[in-house]
Subunit: 312 residues, 2 copies
Amino acid sequence: MKIAIAGAGAMGSRFGLMLHQGGNDVTLIDGWKEHIETIRKHGLSANLNGQELTAQLKVELQSEVNLQNEMELIILFTKAMQLDKMLSDIQPMLSENTKVLCLLNGIGHEDIIEKYVPMKNIFIGNTMWTAGLEGPGRVKLFGDGSVELQNLGEGEEETAKEIAQVLTNSGLNAQYSDNIRYSIYRKACVNGTMNGLCTILDTNMAGLGETSPAHEMVAAIIKEFVSVAQYEGVELDLEEVVAHVESCFNPDTIGLHYPSMYQDLIKNHRMTEIDYINGAVSRKGRKYSIPTPYCDFLAQLIHSKEEILEAH
Amino acid sequence: MKIAIAGAGAMGSRFGLMLHQGGNDVTLIDGWKEHIETIRKHGLSANLNGQELTAQLKVELQSEVNLQNEMELIILFTKAMQLDKMLSDIQPMLSENTKVLCLLNGIGHEDIIEKYVPMKNIFIGNTMWTAGLEGPGRVKLFGDGSVELQNLGEGEEETAKEIAQVLTNSGLNAQYSDNIRYSIYRKACVNGTMNGLCTILDTNMAGLGETSPAHEMVAAIIKEFVSVAQYEGVELDLEEVVAHVESCFNPDTIGLHYPSMYQDLIKNHRMTEIDYINGAVSRKGRKYSIPTPYCDFLAQLIHSKEEILEAH
């Protein structure tokens, strides 16, 4: 299959590499010139579960996507705030038959994708794979994962299942879901609590979990996600989600990890995805007249912190 | 007049010194042994508007207040969380006629004072004086200030005016107020925004003020103070208070200053007074069934930060 990965950071590189190894015709697209040039010259270099390898994938610098070059499938893996620009830049790759699968973290991305892609071609999903970018053209890929995905357009279930099969054929362990919004919201609850709270408190997940107010804060935030999701017909079980989220506190599993937002903002002074997690819940809350003060306040604090640290 | 200053930090020392200079019989009481011993041996040393002086004030270590030694007036100047213990320790100084004036920052201290002092003897107030503690037995006192105070007990207006006169006679510029709760709430709005937000964002007031979400956060917090105050019969003008609070952002006046809570927690890893500012609004909100999510969340974040920094 002719596939483009739009946003070839750590996760995009993993998916691109595995799909390439599975026999697909893969093009990586990214806006980071040094990364793209390195892959063009030396291939994508990876440590895949301890094994060193290099793969010659096609690459395109995002700003230089010009010629008509239609894809069968485009997998979106940008940072949330770069999604709109990416879709705008890769229009020469979109035909009326190009399927677009969004695997970004966060919620509400379909509002942006709809501007560029007809609903029947939009698929959204959720992945449990992990990946690390070690430098330009170089990734570290450990562990197992999975993908769930679903069609947004009515009657496109079979196509969704076909896309899942393409991913599974390359070892990406993908499944069709008949309730993807549930999984997306449930995962967004993890990001909507661990990311913002650890970032603003300057601690890792175990450190947060050890503090007395952690449970109250986590529960208050998740309650807002649950209310907004419910309005959209997604039934989350508050207690179950809180317990799921709080399993992140465990220092013996992933508790000692600093969430990606912490690394983006506190370590690297980069802009965060808060507007696509808590900020998205705030926007939906306003739309549906549901109060979301914890998400509002957390998004405001993170935005203030971005400005104080002069994040770019 | 026979006066004890219960809590002889920077502000307590200023009041003690000025009342002593004004001819009163003043005793400083504090729990910090080195501070009390230094004053006992060498007097209280002060830089008062550029003039060096030393004054021989009486002192008592808080834990050693044993003998009956009844005061006419006790001015409370502890940290909020030390108030209960202080009142418990100084009971030998309380007679049925001892007036008690509370000048602590924050709201709701009368709930604690009432446990030790009959309502007719309780006076609450608010001061605009400033002071700095430079080390044990040593303060730096610059600028001008004022005091407002009022009786809590019915019919005690005249006594309140007499206490104000005693303070004014020593240069402390005190006035009787017929609406002290208004002043206390208005000042608490400054502390309830600048303290918590600057502490959690690790910035000074000007730095906070320069960020885009500052106004929304400040307004949301103050709205909760206004709602709770209204329930208690205190009418604050939301817009006026927000403008008053936001004048703190000005870098040409006090904007470059880090609020006391920042200094306590971030610099010195000391416990904060958040429970007597935003936390008090949360408690009152629960009592009156008024939602106060911004105060709740801010107090939770500060408490988490206290635990993360192992504040003591």
